[in-house]
Amino acid sequence: MTRFKFKTNIAHSEITSEAIYEKRREFMITGGLLGTALLLNPWTTANASLAINDYKPKVVNLDEALTSEKDATTYNNFYEFGTGKTDPLQNSQNFNTDDWKITVSGECEKPGEYALEDLVKPFDIEERIYRLRCVEAWSMVIPWLGVPMASILKSLQPTSKAKYVAFKTLLDPEQMPGQKRSVLQWPYEEGLRIDEAMNPLTLFAVGMYGKTMPNQNGAPVRLVVPWKYGFKSIKSIVSIEFTEQQPQTSWNISGPNEYGFYSNVNPEVNHPRWSQKRERRIGEIFKQKTRMFNGYEAEVAHLYKGMDLRKHF
């Protein structure tokens, strides 16, 4: 399934040319819908202000095959663009992410409205290959590009009262047709405890597969929290708020007995809709065992020491 693998210490120009090569090949092979989509939204113009091609590859290697870029960009849950898996690809191609602003508020020393590039620019963009586990019991392995969330949050100087971080997605039903139907409470809201948000794994992601974040995957910036179910990794972020109280989250409002605030990947906690014991890796037929914290137990288990994870699911 793997199209290309990143190597450490690879020259930037090499990556770029390989990416272009891949794009061209994909365009020629698939043609049709995907080809048209790429033509309408070439990665070079999608968000020119973020110099993705300058990122420093700092690969956290994972001994698992990458999910194909095609699968990861055509099979998406992004209800703002429709509830079907291919709706986000079809309905997000004209989504305008230029001059993206993020409002920072709440318990911090540096509230205000920031241009995305100003938030990201001071830091190196890193590549992180993470497992992504959806609550619907499927999973992928995706090479993300981004900045550690901790770097961004520290630069905003949270006060001692900042116990949680709340995030919001853009609310714009004209651009996001899925918001015209009230399948969820809009705008989409998510939240993390501040120590979760500061964990070195948590990523403020601006790209994947060596390119700018595709619209259907949460352009221009999304969270990636690899030890939690995918819906915690909120997309198209326009608001970061430091709070003292635990913030509300969209899926918890929709189904309080199904989607808890923590929503850590946990094969032991039964879910009324999908057994969480196993998962289907996209590209495979049979299911494999799901691991505690999605295999990131060593990195994050200490965050939940002494907590009853059945109660705080």
């Binding site: 095609k70 699968d71 990861a72 055509t74 099979y75 209800y79 509830t83 898996k85 291919t86 619907e136 499927w138 139907r181 399948v183 969820l184 929709s254 039964n270 009324p272 809709r273 999908w274 057994s275 289907r280 996209i282 590209g283 037929i285 049979f286 299911k287």
Partner: protein, 203 residues
């Protein structure tokens, strides 16, 4: 030529038989050419389940269609359509048993018990078994009036199948609701159901 003549013609049955297999052919074709998207197992599971439900609703529509349009000839397709409900429900079940549970029966039953929507879906499939077994002419004759009573289980299967669908929906109820409205409409065409609701149901 009148519609009823077409329905009565010798070619009608084989043609309908082949038409009913089209959804399966289309799935096999698309699976072979990799056109089922990133999660083909999920696509096959959903498609076969939806086709089982569609054939169930088509089967339920046969009697009302006969009444409304005086199309007595349409009755000759009902058994075949009913058996296609069972066929697609079996495909739906088998792909789930094989791909989701790797043939592990204990694991499968755990899922049936733990997840109410699967409990309902599995019950619907089990209830279809006696209906499929007693669908041949010999059984119809042998069971007489009891055959009709037995096959009214279809109504219960319909309710279970609709609930199975609604219960698995995560947030977007639109599609499941459309099926539910059609199913309720078709069930309310049955005089005994209408009578039961309007005379026995507590107000």
């Amino acid at each position: 030529m009148q519609l009823s003549d077409v329905l009565k013609s010798a070619a009608a049955k084989p043609v309908v038989f082949m038409l009913c297999l089209l959804p399966l052919f289309s799935l096999v074709w698309n699976a072979f050419y990799g056109d089922l998207g990133a999660n083909p197992v999920e696509a096959i599971t959903h498609e076969t389940g939806e086709w089982a439900l569609r054939f169930l609703l088509i089967t339920l529509a046969i009697s009302p269609l006969r009444q409304w349009f005086g199309l007595a000839a349409i009755m000759r397709f009902r058994r075949m359509l009913g058996l296609y409900v069972f066929f697609y429900a079996c495909c739906h079940f088998m792909i789930w048993l094989v791909a989701d549970h790797s043939f592990d029966i204990a694991d499968m039953f755990e899922d049936i018990i733990d997840r109410p929507y699967i409990t309902l879906g599995f019950s619907a499939l089990v209830l279809l078994i006696p209906l499929a077994i007693t669908s041949n002419q010999g059984m119809v004759r042998q069971l007489g009036r009891r055959w009709k009573k037995l096959h009214q289980l279809t109504y219960l299967v319909t309710i279970l199948a609709i609930l199975h669908f609604i219960w698995l929906v995560k947030a977007d109820y639109l599609e499941a609701s459309i099926y539910a409205v059609i199913a309720i409409g078709l069930l309310l065409q049955r005089t005994h159901i209408k009578k039961w609701i309007f005379t026995k149901a507590p107000v």
